[in-house]
């Protein structure tokens, strides 16, 4: 849906807490109507970045626009056009589901508050529990309420901070169907997540580690850029191989995927050599395969840790 215009266009975004650099000169350009995934390990700076984009944290450095507004000078304008879902549940637990949604609707000045809210509650399938206190909802339902609330005012862009954490698979699927439907209508979405399958549903992903954006692009592109080669070891005794392969030259890391073992490295020749001794072991099959996104992320994270140490 991109027509070349950028919903988010920021450069050099930097945030420090004391001496700690939480986000380091991040450039983010998200075209209108795209769904971008924001990934990275815990504490890498995802929440901090999102908060700066919607004016909840002051950026120490950086410039640019969000929805055409200067993100440093016009946070109030941005707030009205953006739906922000916080990572931690931040609705009022002593208000009922309906009261929370009505409050949001009123604050955004929506007409027909009652009808709008009723429609949203129906869509959520919560009509029977609408008078229940938000604090009494289960974790997953809290997430769904929060999501419904931040979409109530039909924002042009959604900034979602781990919206599906703790949400069951069916609800997650519904959520993503909804996201894609909205994006077809021109909504821009930046969503942080730790789920690989969700990353794969995004038009593009941005991977941030220790405050630095270390990879970006389509899923295929990121895998491509990583220069990673992966061999999948399957069969009897595959898991027992892991300790023997750890630290061998050419083997960057070894990861379990169910019963299979993914052995990855950047130098295919060395990697092959490292696996050679086990090739003949009976019951084992060793096959070169395309690295999965998770393999790539593990590598990015290990690399970051190495650089940090």
């Amino acid at each position: 849906m991109s027509n070349g215009e950028l919903a988010i266009d920021v450069h050099g975004l930097t945030k420090r807490f004391g001496t700690k650099v939480a986000v380091n000169r991040a450039d983010i350009q998200v075209p209108v109507g795209e769904v971008w995934g924001f990934l990275g390990p815990n504490g890498s700076g995802k929440t901090t970045t999102i908060r700066m984009l919607c004016g909840l944290l002051r950026a120490d450095e950086g410039s640019g626009t969000v929805l055409g507004f200067d993100f440093r000078a016009q946070p109030e304008q941005i707030k009205r056009e953006v739906g922000y879902m916080t990572q931690r549940f931040s609705f009022w637990e002593d208000l009922s589901i309906r009261e929370n949604l009505e409050f949001v609707a009123r604050v955004y000045g929506l007409p027909n508050v009652k009808e709008v809210v009723t429609a949203q509650i129906e869509r959520l399938g919560l009509i029977k529990r609408q008078d229940q206190l938000a604090g009494d909802l289960s974790g997953g339902w809290k997430q769904r309420l929060a999501l419904a609330a931040c979409m109530l005012h039909q924002p042009k862009m959604l900034l979602l901070d781990e919206p599906t954490a703790g949400v069951d698979p069916k609800a997650r699927r519904d959520f993503w169907d909804e996201i894609h439907r909205l994006s077809d209508e021109g909504l821009t979405v930046l969503v942080s997540t730790h789920y690989m399958d969700e990353a794969e549903r995004c038009d593009r992903i941005v991977y941030i580690n220790l405050g630095d954006i270390v990879a970006r692009g389509t899923v295929a592109g990121v895998i491509e850029q990583s220069g990673l080669h992966t061999f999948v070891v399957q069969g009897e005794g595959a898991r027992a191989l892991a300790p023997q392969l750890h630290g061998k030259p050419g083997v960057d890391f070894v990861a379990f995927f169910g019963a299979a073992l993914h052995v990855s490295g950047r130098d295919p020749a060395k990697l092959k050599a490292a696996l050679e001794p086990f090739a003949q072991q009976k019951g084992l099959t060793i096959q070169e395969s395309k690295p999965s996104l998770e393999d790539v992320f593990i590598q990015l994270q290990e690399k970051g840790r190495g650089a940090y140490a």
């Binding site: 807490f17 004016g55 055409g68 953006v82 604050v107 955004y108």
Partner: protein
């Protein structure tokens, strides 16, 4: 397809609808918080009954020392009269004024009655001797009745002794002078002053408490982030959080005033609508203080500490606990800044003296000034971001 750079929808800095939204939310939350609500209504009543009665009781059997430098029939009569009055218990009779005074200073007795040397002779001669009465007036409301009774009492007692040829010395007017020294507290605070004063103190305490939690609670529960992410402005949030508490404050005021009228029989001479007008300003001023605290405090505990910090001067330097004019000048200046100081003057003025708008204005404008000043500080201090 929506354009990303659509012209901004008009951005009112101030929207009644948004204020109404915040207001509605606050009312619901207040209603749900049953314990707090019960406290809001119960606390003023409890404090009023507790302190109102504790301070206003008309106590009897106050320990008294008599120093007799002139033993004789007259002295005996006076001591007997003191004991039978019910107000006094003569626990010590001495011939040394110093001993008696030490007892008073140590708090062992509340009164010292000093019968000077040659009292009988001067009385008989008609040279108008002085009967010195010293009262510990640190708790003046409770001792004022007793003090009032003293002079009368001595006169009556002596009248019975002035018989026979001395009967000419027993006229209607006492032929001696009861000199009363109120020590430690020269101003007399009557019980009618205490109950209206309590209204000011109770409101200061509960109102500052209510709003000092306003933002810290949101911060601790994580809802602050959500509030900030929405297009509410600081002014709207402040008004939305202060207004519901004004209603609470007025309910408290009604409770206290009803008790003042029907339990403590405090006279209410002046205009009640005028009083309620000032009450709204006074309540709002205190709410603004609490709200300012909540913009500064990181946690509810810190907010609470700030509240206590504010409450102590409000009690001690406002003229509630100690007579205002008896305080050192610097303390009076601190007192002049506090809303409760002005409110005490206004409420006593309206209720007891029947003051009108013109008379109370000198104490109303400082309240208004304080209120707007505090609100300005709160708005300047309001953090629009999380860092």
């Amino acid at each position: 397809m929506r354009a990303p750079t659509a012209p901004a929808r008009r951005l009112p800095r101030f929207s009644l609808r948004r204020i109404a939204a915040v207001l509605g939310k606050e009312f619901i939350q207040m209603r749900r918080d049953r314990v707090t609500f019960a406290l809001i209504l119960g606390v003023p009543l409890m404090q009023l009954l507790l302190f109102g009665f504790a301070i206003n009781n008309d106590p009897k059997h106050l320990p008294t020392a008599v120093s007799i430098s002139d033993p004789g029939a007259f002295s005996d009569s006076i001591v007997a009269a003191l004991n039978t009055s019910g107000y006094f218990d003569v626990v010590s009779a001495t011939n040394s004024p110093e001993t008696a005074r030490r007892l008073l200073a140590e708090g062992k007795v509340s009164f010292v009655v000093e019968i000077p040397a040659n009292f009988s002779r001067d009385l008989v001669r008609g040279t108008n001797p002085e009967l010195l009465i010293q009262a510990d007036a640190t708790d003046p409301a409770s001792s004022s009745n007793a003090v009032g009774a003293l002079g009368e009492l001595a006169t009556d007692a002596l009248r019975d002794d002035l018989i026979g040829p001395l009967a000419v010395r027993a006229p209607q007017r006492p032929s001696f002078t009861a000199v009363i020294h109120r020590l430690y507290n020269p101003e007399i605070i009557t019980q009618w002053n205490i109950v209206p004063g309590l209204l000011g103190i109770i409101l200061t305490m509960t109102m500052v408490l209510m709003t000092s939690m306003a933002l810290t609670r949101e911060r601790e529960r994580g809802t602050y982030e959500n509030l900030l992410a929405m297009p509410t402005t600081p002014v709207e949030i402040m008004i939305g959080k202060i207004l519901p508490n004004i209603v609470v404050g007025l309910i408290q005021a009604v409770i206290v005033l009803l008790a003042a009228k029907f339990i403590f029989k405090v006279p209410m001479i002046g205009s009640l609508p005028l009083l309620f007008g000032v009450l709204v300003i006074f309540i709002a001023a205190n709410l603004a203080v609490g709200y300012t605290f909540s913009t500064i405090a990181e946690s509810q505990l810190q907010a609470m500490q700030m509240m206590v910090f504010f409450l102590l001067p409000a009690i001690l330097l406002s003229g509630f606990a100690f007579p205002f004019r008896g305080m050192p000048v610097w303390a009076q200046w601190v007192g002049e800044v506090l809303p409760v100081t002005h409110f005490l003057r206004v409420v006593r003025g309206i209720l007891l003296q029947g003051n009108g708008a013109a008379e109370i204005w000198p104490d109303v404008w400082p309240l208004l000034l304080f209120m707007f000043g505090m609100m300005t500080v709160a708005l300047l201090r309001f953090r629009r971001t999380l860092d």
